[in-house]
Amino acid sequence: MLQVSGLFCERGDRQLLNGLSFTLKPGQLLHVRGANGAGKTSLLRIIAGLLLPTAGDVLWQGKPTQQQREDYHGDLLYLGHLDGVKGDLSCIENLRIDNELLGAEISEASMMAALEKLGLSGFEEVFAKQLSQGQHRRVGLCRLLMSQAKLWVLDEPFNALDVKAVGLLAGLIEVHLERGGMALLTTHQDVPLSTERVSEITLGQV
């Protein structure tokens, strides 16, 4: 269970997220809305532990994340604006590294299956830099299939994806939520998910 209380964040001269608080329970998805520059990405990076808030804290299973950094990161999967895919490595090589980083310990076959599921079959040995932007992003999205993380933090996961990929991603999120997982995401499209799981907060007017 994720608890966020009294978050303050400062970007240059501007105050974002003044005193934001919310809790996220298993099976719930939080859709973070807000205009550009309202602090959506900062919020997600704070929760992922990449950005230190000016004040307030993030609790995972009741304990602050800074005190249990390795355990918390074991349960976390973060996909930011950057795909996190190495251009000079082939798709399968990228996945082998991610497999180790995520501690997923999955077999070579299931990595191939993940690539195939995301429509990248045949591209296993191709260097990531030779792929299109959509394909490049989907290599990053393979992490969703590989990791058993309980908490997904996804920053604009749907952009640069074609319609089929958007549907596929929405399905993955749906399955994750049914398995008791939690997710936080930002997107400008409306979220194609069954509504009762989705709660929303809007930054900027808080």
């Binding site: 400062e10 970007r11 240059g12 001269d13 105050q15 230190l52 000016t54």
Partner: protein
């Protein structure tokens, strides 16, 4: 009587306290400096060997001490800033740097000017002067890193870490330069430490204390600027700026 230290750890409550403390350090600094200068420049007799030029040590040595002490103080505050994640102490480290750099440069400058009459050359690869030069590079490195990062909080934390790594290396650098200097003994003339007469030692002490007080006063003044800069959104700064005008 337990002083609640953490009360003063918040910038809002430290700002007025620093304001009140500045005169307590500035005034005695000026008094001591004047006394030291008068005694050092006019009252003390000229040195039989070096003549008048030895009077430069009354500013050279305190400046050299202060440059070293301030760098270690910066590392001290940086460590506290990192351990307790307290913004105020990382601001203190940032506020100390310019004064330390100026003392470091002055120590080198006065060292060179003192070197010309006593050893015949402006620059001597003496262990202390060489370490002073490297310390000056470390100050510039600290300030350059702090200036290169826009976000003040990240800048303070990054340069704080550099100060800690630097402070850890200062003794290593000093001893390796010291050893290097004695190894190439033949190549350069090293100034032997002439034993100081009691009166000279007392003037040196006065000037050192004056330098200490001056540094504290200037740092407090600069940390107030840092606080205002960093807390410009805080409510207490807003209503402070109305009545201050």
């Amino acid at each position: 009587m337990n002083i609640n230290w953490f009360k003063y750890a918040s910038p809002a409550s430290f700002y007025p306290l620093a304001g009140k403390m500045i005169p307590w350090f500035a005034v005695p600094a000026v008094i001591l400096a004047v006394i030291g200068l008068i005694m050092g420049l006019f009252i003390l007799p000229p040195d039989f060997k070096q003549g008048e030029s030895y009077r430069i040590i009354f500013i050279h040595v305190p400046a050299a001490w202060m440059s070293m002490v301030i760098y270690l103080a910066m590392a001290f505050w940086a460590i506290i800033g990192m351990v307790w994640n307290s913004r105020l102490s990382s601001m203190m480290a940032t506020a100390l740097a310019p004064t330390g750099a100026i003392f470091c440069f002055l120590a080198l400058w006065t060292g060179a000017l003192w070197g010309k009459p006593t050893w015949g050359t402006y620059w001597v690869w003496d262990a202390r002067l060489t370490t002073q030069l490297i310390l000056l590079f470390m100050y510039f490195g600290y300030m350059a890193l702090h200036a290169a990062i826009e976000d003040p909080r990240r800048a303070a934390r990054a340069s704080g870490l550099l100060a800690v790594v630097g402070a850890f290396n200062v003794p290593i650098i000093y001893f390796s330069v010291q050893w290097w200097n004695t190894l190439h003994q033949g190549a350069s003339i090293t100034p032997t430490k002439s034993e100081m007469a009691a009166s000279m030692a007392s003037v040196m002490l006065i000037m050192a204390i004056a330098a200490w007080l001056y540094s504290i006063a200037v740092t407090l003044k600069r940390v107030r600027c840092e606080i205002l800069d960093r807390e410009r959104h805080a409510a207490w700064v807003a209503e402070l700026s109305t009545e201050a005008k």
